[in-house]
């Protein structure tokens, strides 16, 4: 082997260990899961004993109203929380992007929820939502209002998990938006002030458009994450009452452990994986497009 060729191989050599780990830790389970999704497999069987049923798990899923309900809950949940979080996070960032004394402390406080483990968040909110001793109902009662069935009524339960998620994840969008805001070209904003833009007009015509690339990536990241939420809802409602908060990851969990249908659970996981892959792919394409645009602009600049 020539030296040049050896040199070219060197990076791959160094990458190999990581590649091997990835192969076993990621690729193998995924293949395993894809294979399992074609089986009628009970947890008491070894995988070799399971019957091969082709696409039956998938066709069954699509005609299963519970699965469709769960899919709908997931979409609804992701849509609602990400929209709310985007509005609140970006709004807070716009509000707190100024140099007043104590602002850095306030910013730190705002991002605390994100740092708490999801299980803890779930427990915390479950206690606060408790029908009699929870802080919300106790407060309502002491003010003379009716109490609210936070976790025991379908619609309220959905709202409750949405509130908990928004509380936990708005900070994520807040810090990314704040970072984007603070890296905006200050002089463009100043120019717009001179041009006569009011505070709102500065936000709408200058700040938001310039933040857009960051906002889109933030949005996609958060969307991907919201499809995978599990612990908080598991702890708070375990999917109930009824199917009102049974998002897909909970459904998968139940199908495997309660209904003992490993094949079906695998098929669901695969569907979720496909949705997430599509979203990731969208983000990837978007980043590529941005890079290409930047490269083109640089080329123009150099030639000019």
């Amino acid at each position: 082997m020539s030296i040049a060729r050896t040199n070219r191989m060197t990076p791959y050599l160094f990458l190999a260990p990581a590649g091997l780990v990835l192969l076993f830790a990621l690729f193998y389970p995924i293949c395993y899961m894809i294979y399992a999704s074609f089986l009628d497999w009970n947890p008491s069987q070894r995988i070799g004993e399971a019957d091969f049923v082709g696409l039956r798990n998938y066709t069954k899923l699509f005609s299963d109203p519970s699965f469709r309900e769960s899919m709908w809950v997931t979409l609804k949940f992701a849509g609602v929380v990400v929209t709310l979080e985007m509005f609140l996070g970006v709004g807070l960032a716009l509000l707190l992007d100024r140099n007043i004394r104590g602002m850095s402390l306030l910013r730190t406080l705002f991002i605390l929820p994100m740092m708490i483990a999801p299980i803890v968040v779930g427990l915390m909110w479950r206690y606060m939502y408790h029908p009699t001793v929870g802080i919300f109902n106790k407060t309502l009662k002491s003010w003379g209002f009716d109490t609210i069935p936070w976790l025991s009524d379908g619609n309220w339960a959905f709202a409750s998990v949405v509130i908990a998620d928004v509380w936990q994840w708005t900070p994520f969008i807040f810090i990314l938006s704040l970072a984007a805001l603070q890296s905006l070209p200050t002089s463009a904003v100043e120019a717009s002030k001179i041009d006569g833009a009011s505070g709102w007009q500065q936000i709408i015509y200058i700040k938001l458009p310039l933040m857009l690339p960051v906002l889109i990536v933030t949005f996609l990241l958060r969307l991907i994450d919201s499809f995978k939420v599990l612990e908080v809802i598991l702890v708070m409602t375990n999917g109930g009452p009824g199917l009102s908060t049974e998002i897909l990851s909970l459904r998968i969990n139940r199908t495997a452990s309660e209904f003992r249908e490993l094949g079906e659970a695998a098929a669901m996981s695969n569907l979720l994986l496909i949705v997430l892959l599509l979203l990731t792919f969208a983000m990837f394409i978007y980043n590529k497009a941005q890079d290409a645009r930047a490269a083109r602009l640089r080329a123009v600049e150099e030639e000019a």
Binding site: P185, E190, K193, I194, D195, A197, P209, V300, A304
Partner: protein
């Protein structure tokens, strides 16, 4: 179109005082240039006038309105920034029309106005381009255009040419001078480049450490600098400064230094009498020397040929001196020549206060 007055203007950044007590009047339609070394507070002053920087003390009066507490948009001004500050996400036409669109001018008027201004700035072909797709010079013109489409009472410029290469800068400087003649408006222009200041300004304000050293026409500043700083700042090549003593020899007042003695004109006798037998600083512009017999014998250490002119580096009494001469016959380094100094082109400064005598 109003005059602008800065009264006892003060600016602190936290505990740091940048401008202490600035007083300045600008007449209606005047082109005022704030010039001074980097960090002397020119931009701060301009940005306070624009309303981008709060005023710590004092007033800014435009016409008969005290605008010091008003928002930028209530001050009726347009501004060109050093880094152009174009809106990256808007094309040239949108950039230029932004202010007009905010003011809800009707569409066809906006279009007409933008086209007019774009034509005068050679930007017609680029109206659809985004700023990133333009060269530096084009971006600079868009920034100008964005200010010009507006019919503002006052135009502010913060070093608008400093990011251009030398040739383009000269070109834009000339265009700017033409433009300022065409639209007689209040213009306040910040630069650290004295050539720009001299060529553009009706009035030049020389600043140092947040203070005004002198304000006046280019000619006043060049001919009668109020102090050593202004004398050294205005004019290129820079004025030579020599340590000397003011003495009376044979009834003639002269500046005597190591190895030279330059007689001063009688006209200055009265004002200089009080400083007799004291140390002074002598200021001689490189162009005040003329070559000819009967002058001071000076060695030519270095000869910088520029074209029609040459700048010679020489020595007088152990101090380096620059001399500007016409290059009819090139003078080479190593020669020794005689140079005379025009007595009425000599500047004298108090060594302590640096004020002109």
């Amino acid at each position: 179109m109003p005059e602008i007055r800065l009264q006892q203007l003060r600016k602190d950044y936290g505990a740091v005082n940048v401008i202490e007590n600035l007083n300045l009047e600008m007449a209606d339609g005047e082109f005022t240039v704030l010039v001074g070394p980097s960090g002397c507070g020119k931009s701060t002053t301009l940005r306070m006038i624009a309303g981008l920087e709060s005023v710590t003390g004092g007033q800014i009066v435009i016409g008969d309105r005290d605008v010091s507490k008003l928002e930028p948009k209530e001050r009726d001004l347009a501004m060109v920034f050093q880094d152009y500050a174009l809106y990256p996400h808007m094309n040239v036409a949108k950039n230029m029309s932004f202010a007009l669109r905010l003011a809800r001018m009707n569409k066809s008027d906006i279009e007409k106005r933008v086209k007019e201004v774009a034509a005068t700035l050679d930007l017609t072909a680029y109206l659809d381009r985004k700023p990133a797709e333009l060269s530096g010079g084009q971006r600079q013109r868009v920034a100008m255009g964005r200010a010009l489409v507006r019919d503002a009472g006052t135009f502010l410029f913060d070093e608008p040419l400093s990011n251009l290469d030398a040739k383009l800068r000269g070109q834009m400087r000339a265009e700017l001078a033409l433009m300022s003649q065409r639209i007689r408006k209040n213009m306040i222009y910040v630069t650290h480049d004295q050539v720009e200041a001299m060529t553009l300004g009706d009035k030049i304000v020389v600043m140092k450490f947040g203070e005004i050293m002198q304000a006046g026409t280019p000619e006043q500043l060049y001919r009668n600098p109020a102090n050593k700083f202004v004398a050294g700042f205005i004019g290129s090549p820079t004025m030579n400064f020599l340590a000397a003593e003011l003495i009376e020899e044979n009834g003639v007042l002269s500046a005597k230094g190591q190895g030279f003695s330059i007689p001063l004109p009688d006209a200055r006798r009265a004002s200089l009498q009080a400083h007799k037998d004291r140390n002074i600083h002598l200021g001689i512009r490189p162009s005040s020397f003329t070559e000819g017999p009967g002058g001071l014998k000076m060695p030519v250490i270095l000869s910088e040929y520029i074209g029609a002119q040459s700048v010679l580096i020489s020595e007088l009494g152990g101090q380096q001196v620059a001399i500007e001469v016409n290059t009819v016959v090139p003078i080479r380094a190593g020669e020794e020549r005689e140079f005379k100094v025009q007595g009425d082109e000599i500047h004298l400064f108090d060594p302590q206060t640096e004020a002109a005598l």
